[in-house]
Symmetry: C2
């Protein structure tokens, strides 16, 4: 696989990571994702890692930079589907995935994104009404 597909789900984008990530693939995913956020105006990104048995510091950093880039482009990131052993290993390795929000599965991740989007819109509504 040369490219990880980015699926549009209404206001959000979904990326399901199924293959071993390497430098080039991680970079092209970041490029594709930032481009797609801008092109679609997506307000949230869901990254499914349910296929991953291991999340090492490389993947951890990649998830962190995706979350950082998305935030700058006004989209929130939620990592979903983490396997229980992955959570155990992450803590054992001292990787706490700072700045990354997680949810159990895609449904719950979308709920989280929708809620935080609503809150954001409500707090903006205090200042000025939307068109």
């Amino acid at each position: 696989v040369e490219r990880i597909p980015i699926l549009k789900l209404g206001e959000f984008l979904l990326v399901s990571i199924q293959v071993d990530m390497h430098d080039r693939l991680a970079l092209s995913l970041q490029d594709d994702l930032t481009e797609k956020i801008v092109a679609t105006g997506a307000k949230g990104v869901l990254i499914d890692i349910s296929a991953l048995d291991i999340v090492d510091s490389f993947i951890g950093r990649m998830l962190g930079s995706i979350a950082g880039m998305s935030r700058i482009l006004d989209a929130e990131t939620v990592v979903v589907g983490m396997q229980p052993p992955v959570a155990i290993t992450l803590v054992e390795l001292g990787l706490s995935l700072p700045g990354i929000r997680t949810a159990l599965n895609v449904d719950k991740g979308m709920e989280l994104l929708r809620r935080s989007l609503e809150e954001q819109r409500e707090s903006l509504g205090v200042l000025h009404k939307p068109d």
Copy 2:
């Protein structure tokens, strides 16, 4: 990858095929998917093939059997995200993917599933009211 993740999106299931399929992987996908349809009561299955550059007769048959099995379990299947060259090759090879519905992307596929689900429920409503 030993297993292709099956993501639950509300009433539907989403499978994004990103790796080369071989016999064993195709069989385990069919097993996992039918189990998940039964476990979740999903009413539709979306299969994203946007990462595939080639759909050969093996993949075509697999998509057909997934659609057939899902139908028996009362779930509709829609294949989404087909690349233009894939469509060209399929026709050139004489593979018309009989019995498989397609949509341009996940959003449109979900719309299709929702509409056909509504119609189904309306026609059932003529016979007896839901609880």
